[in-house]
Symmetry: C2
Subunit: 215 residues, 2 copies
């Protein structure tokens, strides 16, 4: 079912509180500065169905079982990939996503201890095989991420309510993530330093993909 | 993760309009008549999360993509199996469910033409391997089922809005369903005749499971 692709799919991922949302905003601004009109999205979310699935998965009132949480995340991802991300890539756009499937490895496989092979298969079905061109992983110790989260004023969701040991296991998945197109950035630095390091990497990959400089 | 089981898991499935809901009610009454207190459930549904997932999958306003529809159905099933069905079976109860995973073969694999092997795997993950002890399939021609549906006064959901050819393909999956514990009943007969035929079958299976007569 994969259609032709000509855009660039950039994912920013990492533990809660790592600074993903801030970095996505900075990268979008940098891309605009060089004349690129990116589409920025977040997961789970981005379509009415995906936002509803996000609520069902994360709002404590629904007490999602671990498998229900997984399948709601996959429903949200499937809907957004089919309706938003893949069409944008096929139209040649740069898509910047706050989280993608690395988060499923961290939170559902490691955090919830669901069976790895079957979850990986189910995720491949949900994404219809769509892989990021580049995944930037923000590395922060779980404790630092949780400390930053505590200052944002919102009530914690089901995942944020988990304990420190749980978040440390999750953070390790992000720290150890490796593979084609996966790069790590030390996110214990200032947002300016993180954004500059990420932009240096993005420029190289965009130039390789589109065959021209962007800086 | 499978816990010990001592109850009996009975599923009634078939095309829309086959008379599943009526038959479940009749079977529940018959079971009560012989001193059994069954738990009756419907899929998708049965927990607050599963009802929300059902809405997202079936309400036309959410325009679920085929894969999102699948994963919402699996989220609903996973949540209900974990919180309601498996605990009831482990407590020794008879569970009567209006639909289970045969419906996924019919509507999502055949109707939406999703890849069979991957969907079967994802479903096995969602159910944590829980199989019905007995599945009663109500056989009606798609046209007869659709005609009956047209008289129930509710607005059609996303699946009910599909055309006759689509429902005919779906009905064929139900007609051809076979395997351990799958039995078919001709549902073009009166509700009384259908209920009696189903009860005759259920009694035999319950006696085999619980080692005593129920009639």
């Amino acid at each position: 079912m994969n259609g032709a692709r000509s855009g660039f799919f950039l994912v920013v991922d990492g533990p809660d509180g790592a600074g993903k949302t801030t970095l996505v905003k900075r990268l979008v601004a940098r891309l605009r500065d060089v004349g690129i009109d990116p589409l920025d999205v977040r997961q789970p979310g981005g379509t009415p169905l995906a936002e509803l699935a996000r609520t069902a998965a994360l709002d404590p009132q629904y007490e999602a079982s671990p498998l229900a949480e997984l399948f709601l995340m996959l429903a949200a991802r499937a809907d957004q990939v089919a309706k938003v991300i893949r069409p944008a890539l096929e139209a040649g756009r740069v898509v910047v996503s706050d989280r993608y499937d690395l988060a499923t490895h961290a939170y559902q496989i490691e955090g919830r201890r669901l069976p790895r092979d079957r979850v990986v298969e189910a995720n491949a079905l949900a994404t219809d095989g769509l892989r990021p061109d580049l995944t930037i992983v923000l590395d922060v110790p779980a404790e630092e991420g949780l400390r930053r989260q505590a200052h944002d004023g919102k009530a914690p969701d089901r995942i944020e309510r988990e304990g420190r040991e749980w978040h440390e296991r999750v953070a390790q998945v992000f720290r150890r993530a490796a593979g084609p197109g996966v790069v790590h950035i030390d996110a214990v630095r200032s947002p300016d330093d993180v954004a500059q390091a990420a932009w240096d990497i993005v420029q190289v990959h965009l130039a390789e993909t589109f065959g021209r400089g962007t800086g």
